[in-house]
């Protein structure tokens, strides 16, 4: 019986305690830099798309929300013909980011993605691509990869020696 009264008193005392509710839209929420929010596709420092259409992100995605089609341009540089993420499915697990060999796909600390129409939650490549390098400013895949593309032959990549002519090695 007494405990009931004490409970009442204790609860009453809460009138004088600060509220824990955050007034969200007016007081923006603090989001840590490594927060896993909206997914973007980043670009090389020179402005080219980083994504090489390797499908690893689509395979890693546990909810199958990523869809893409790889293709090549005339110079042999691979890029996604389309790249589509259905954010109404995405669970922001970050596996795609882990899987990406080119640092193209990245998760950002943005979560305010409400839409009135479900269809609007499907982001196309143009919605996903940003004009920047994201978390990895200096990295340029095509500059380090040993693939021959337009404007860069084999052996011209960074920290790469020109290819050895095997026939010269013959005794």
């Amino acid at each position: 019986m007494f405990s009931l009264v004490r409970t009442l008193w204790d609860v009453f005392l809460h009138s004088f305690k600060p509220r824990v509710t955050r007034q969200y839209p007016e007081q923006p929420a603090y989001v840590p830099p490594r927060w896993r929010g909206r997914i973007i596709l980043s670009r090389d420092p020179d402005g080219g798309e980083r994504c090489v259409g390797c499908y690893l992100c689509a395979i890693a995605c546990p909810v199958d929300c990523i869809a893409l089609q790889a293709t090549e341009d005339a110079t042999g540089r691979r890029y996604p013909e389309f790249f589509r993420i259905n954010f109404s499915r995405c669970i922001f697990c970050g596996y795609c980011e882990d899987a990406c060999p080119t640092y193209a796909i990245q998760l950002t600390p943005d979560f305010e993605m409400s839409e009135y129409k479900r269809q609007n939650m499907v982001y196309e490549k143009e919605d996903l691509l940003i004009n920047g390098t994201g978390k990895y400013p200096g990295y340029n895949f095509w500059r380090v990869a040993g693939v021959k593309i337009g404007g860069k032959d084999k052996g011209q990549a960074e920290r790469e020696e020109p290819p050895t002519d095997l026939r010269q090695l013959m005794p």
Binding site: L4, T7, L8, V11, H14, S15, R19, V20
Partner: protein, 317 residues
């Protein structure tokens, strides 16, 4: 003394009661939030005051669905009964000198009669829904409200003994010297608990216990029919608070401020107490509820009556 302008009094009290009751929806949510360190509704209008209006519009606009398996006439009547009985009780509440619809010489009994008729609303709602959870809710309501009615009446008889009247105006006048909360503290506690059970407020909301009965007796109700149960509950809280004010806290009496202000102040204080209880107390098991009623509350109420009677007979006769 009945009010000189009966229709003005009726409409005035009707509108005030309904306003307070619907306003309580907001007050309760704000207070609960306060005690749970939250804000509660604060978006619609200043301090969220228009939330009530928004809710009303929402309820009115919802589909008014009557299940095909329900007993239709009873299903429709049930929510009306609770509104009728509670609003009828307001007719005998003296808010301030002259502000009363009907100064009945059996006002207290009238209040008890109306609250005992209120049971029908819940029981019939549960029965007519033809849904096992609703039926269980109705059965619980019948058992609970019948049991608590018994000592609700008995706990008030101490006040009647002290004031010598069933007339609420006389009871208020009898508290000139001392509020009945002092001599009738036990009666007050018992009435408070019985009032909680009669209005099915939270520690005793077993008829609708959401977690086990999926809202119990009003599972099948939607739209304004549900709204009537909703408002009926808040009207009940207002009524019980007004009764506590009148019976134990001197009604409209108080210094400096005008009587009606005193009355409303006291009443809102008890509404706050009701909400505080909802915020803090856990719901008992049903057998505990019944055991308390018959094994603890009833003997206490009888003992209170006995002692009060003896004292009145010995010292005031």
């Amino acid at each position: 003394m009945t009010s000189p302008y009966p229709f003005a009094a009726i409409f005035g009290i009707l509108i005030v009661a309904l306003t307070i009751a619907s306003g309580l929806i907001w007050i309760e949510r704000r207070l609960l939030a306060l005690w749970q360190d939250r804000y509660g509704p604060n978006r619609v209008g200043p301090f969220g005051l228009l939330q009530v209006l928004a809710d009303t519009i929402k309820l009115l606009a919802k589909e008014d669905w009557i299940p095909p398996f329900a007993d239709k006439p009873v299903f429709i009547i049930a929510p009306a009964i609770i509104m009728i009985t509670v609003l009828m009780s307001f007719a005998v509440i003296p808010i301030a000198p002259g502000i009363i619809i009907s100064d009945l010489n059996i006002a207290l009994l009238f209040f008890l009669a109306m609250s005992s008729l209120g049971v029908y609303s819940i029981v019939l709602a549960g029965w007519s829904s033809d849904n096992k959870y609703s039926l269980l809710g109705g059965v619980r309501a019948a058992a609970q409200m019948l049991s608590y009615e018994v000592f609700m009446g008995l706990s008030l008889m101490g006040v009647v003994l002290l004031s010598g009247s069933f007339d609420l105006v006389d009871i208020v006048h009898a508290q000139r010297k001392i509020w009945f909360i002092i001599p009738q503290f036990l009666g007050f506690v018992l009435f408070l608990i019985a009032g909680l059970a009669e209005t099915r407020r939270l520690p005793f909301d077993l008829p609708e216990a959401e977690s086990e009965l999926v809202a119990g007796f009003h599972s099948e109700y939607s739209g304004m029919k549900f709204g009537m149960f909703f408002v009926g509950e808040y009207l009940g809280v207002t009524l019980i608070s007004a009764m506590i004010t009148i019976l134990f806290f001197g009604g409209w009496m108080g210094p400096v401020l005008p009587p009606i202000v005193w009355f409303l102040l006291k009443m809102f204080f008890f509404i706050g107490v009701f909400i505080l209880m909802r915020a803090s107390l856990p719901r008992p098991r049903f057998d505990q509820l019944m055991a308390w009623a018959w094994k603890l509350m009833l003997p206490l109420a009888l003992a209170n009556l006995l002692v009060t009677g003896a004292v009145v007979l010995a010292f005031f006769h």
